[in-house]
Subunit: 295 residues, 2 copies
């Protein structure tokens, strides 16, 4: 049980964490901090937080768990504001989609208190945002990746893991670099590709005709292009190196396929399509088997 | 009412057309033709067709509507087999995903009977295949693009349109070239991109780890990579010119975005992401408004 939990950013991610912790009886008092007074008021109305803090020093006074769920670009400023007020034993964690940059920002902002920062990334989301979108069961059965630092005490890492487990999450562990390479490949690159396609089509003179004939395959493929431009700008830059590696591999792959199409090399194309179909069907079957086990 | 309808290919597309026509009371007798005796027997058991023909000449004898719903690569062979047996007044149509190549094949195979071929493309599908997947309402509310030829009589085009309308479909008209350019952009390119991503990931040494962390965004983005490799090989080559135009535009777009990421140009990236998000949300809202009106 945490005596005082502070949530920076009371939207979908932070709000759901607060609801789930409270639901599990793991938080005696939850304080919300954020840039939008309106969101904070709404979060209080919805029972996500018990009180609102406007001052970082007051917010973290007596806190034993601090969750950063604000946009990743704010991480360093938030940590710099609370660093001097962090009591020994208080643990700071985060929910950012990128980790190497967050760790670098934390090292700069926290200095010799870096051991108190245990970075994390919950693999969960919905298309809605803000306190209204928060759900007590958003993390149930979902993965949370903890990218512990060499400086972290084992007990502190365990307390963060236990908090997420109380929310129903399944804990995975990667280094920050491993994390960023994995998500550049399976999340960040697909977002870039979907944004690229929709912007490409939207920029054509006959875009209205094109969109008229887009059907269910297009709908699924481009769903992630409905995501927040600001958030994905920040992720694209925060994970720049790993993302560029993936973009370059993809450009090479697509360039090779372009040559196969131009050369009319049906056998080579079919080999790639068949490999992709096989991998996709295997992956989907594995995911569905896990989901069946959980329900 | 058609006296005798012949369906080449009694799977999802041809079988659903047969079921819908029968359901609408528009077909007195439906004959199935295909390469798989097993599929034909199953289609007969399921009440999709009334009889099976193994000989093209016998199949089209007395037929007033002939639907080609076999893989597009078989179009020319089927048309060549039936050309000599086509009675005046009989109409041939198809359900192929590409049109310029189908029209070229039809011109070669049918010669001076080309006026009897009215090309079409129903924009409908499901992930399942074969006669078992056929549904009487697959085409309800869905678009069918008719790409009429200059040689077609207005009455014949009207009869094909009426058959699809009896299936519940909404008729659109494009030239074969317009059709192929549109679908290269909103369907064929996204399939190539999804196949490329999944094959790219599947080929990496740590593919198993990567797939383990793929979540719902990846699931939607790659759903179309579960499609038939043979069918998409054929489509990629059949619509080669239009597809290459789209692949090249996309490579240029992604190359430009790569430079923005490398240069840390967040403003330029955000502009593209915001344009894509805006277009995607507008498109989804328009589609949902149409769907609400229909239900």
């Amino acid at each position: 049980m945490f005596k005082k939990v502070v949530i920076f950013g009371v939207g979908l991610i932070g709000g759901s964490f607060a609801l789930a912790l409270r639901h599990a009886g793991q938080a005696a008092h939850i304080v919300g901090v954020g840039r939008s007074a309106e969101s904070l008021a709404r979060a209080r109305e919805l029972g996500i937080i018990d009180s609102v803090a406007t001052d970082a020093a007051a917010a973290v006074d007596g806190a034993d768990l601090i969750m950063l769920a604000a946009p990743v670009a704010q991480t360093e400023a938030i940590l710099a504001a609370i660093a001097a007020h962090l009591a020994p034993g208080a643990i700071v964690t985060d929910a950012g989609s990128t980790k190497s940059d967050v760790v670098a920002a934390a090292r700069r902002a926290l200095g010799d208190k870096i051991a108190q920062f245990v970075p994390g990334h919950p693999i969960a989301g919905r298309e809605k945002h803000g306190p209204e979108a928060a759900l007590a069961d958003l993390y149930a059965g979902k993965k949370v990746v903890i990218t512990a630092l060499p400086e972290n005490g084992a007990g502190d890492v365990e307390r963060v893991a236990a908090a997420w487990q109380a929310c129903g999450a399944i804990i995975h562990r990667l280094s920050p670099q491993e994390h960023d390479a994995v998500f550049a490949s399976v999340s960040h690159l697909p977002h870039v590709l979907a944004f690229a396609l929709v912007d490409d089509i939207a920029g054509k003179p006959h875009a209205a005709t094109l969109f008229q004939y887009a059907a269910s395959g297009f709908r699924d493929f481009t769903r992630i292009a409905g995501s927040s431009p600001e958030m994905w700008r920040d992720i694209s830059l925060a994970n720049r190196d790993a993302l560029l590696t993936e973009v370059d591999a993809y450009l090479a792959q697509l360039g090779a396929m372009r040559q196969m199409i131009a050369a009319g090399d049906g056998a080579a194309l079919e080999k790639i399509y068949a490999s992709a179909q096989h991998a996709r069907l295997q992956w989907a079957a594995a995911i569905e088997a896990v989901e069946r086990k959980e329900t």
